[in-house]
């Protein structure tokens, strides 16, 4: 093999690896998306000027859309790997959000900031997961 051919092969390897890099997993974005969902969707339940049933409908629609986007992301990605977080982690995080919301619903209105606290409490574990996944995705 001559030098020109070696250069050509290395350039091709570079091109292919750049193409792979462009589609590497971005699981952290999914976790961050759900953190934002918890942070911005739960607190308005404690805002007196928003009808709770109406807001509940909004949450259901946005949550359903988020679930669909999440499903599509995991189903269609081109790079696959052993999940850095076990699948049940997502269930636990979602369950924790549910528990935080239910606790807030029980303690509101005697504790006026209940939904704000619940939103933050539900979002924090997602943020931690997003940080962990970001670090793995960019290793």
């Amino acid at each position: 093999m001559e030098s020109d051919e070696a250069t050509r092969q290395l350039a091709e390897a570079n091109r292919v690896q750049n193409a792979v890099r462009a589609v590497l997993p971005r699981d952290y974005a999914v976790a961050m998306g759900w953190a934002m969902f918890e942070l911005f969707m739960i607190p308005p339940f404690g805002w007196g000027w928003i009808s709770q049933p109406v807001w509940a409908a909004v949450v259901i629609v946005v949550g359903g859309l988020g679930w669909y986007v999440t499903y599509r992301y995991f189903a269609r990605r081109l790079v696959h790997r052993e999940p850095p977080l076990p699948n049940w982690t997502w269930g636990v995080l979602g369950g924790w959000g549910g528990i935080a919301s239910a606790t807030a619903a029980m303690s509101y209105p005697s504790f006026a900031q209940a939904f704000l606290v619940a939103g933050v409490a539900a979002a924090v574990p997602y943020c931690v997961a997003a940080g962990y996944l970001f670090q793995i995705d960019h290793r």
């Binding site: 030098s3 070696a6 092969q9 390897a13 292919v16 690896q17 193409a19 792979v20 790079v79 790997r81």
Partner: protein
Amino acid sequence: MNHPREALDDLLVHGVRFSIVAAVAQACELDFGFVRDTLDVSDSVLSRQVSQLEEAGYVRVRKGYVGKRPRTWLSCTARGKKAFAKHVAALNAIIGERS
């Protein structure tokens, strides 16, 4: 002193095989269709070259499903990564020898 070309991996001298290993060496598993499109080769060409790499223990093939759709995933073995690194070092040595 041996010429650096003697350190090249015989299997990876082939352009398509080299590109396949280059792609899978940096990700855990790659979708077969993605590799095919990135390398701009046909299914049959890719299958043939992947089979050779699989026989040599450089690449692992896993068949699975996403929903009801069958998908094939390619990944690089430790042996494949080692061979790729050695081959790239040899290529760099060949280029370095000229300059």
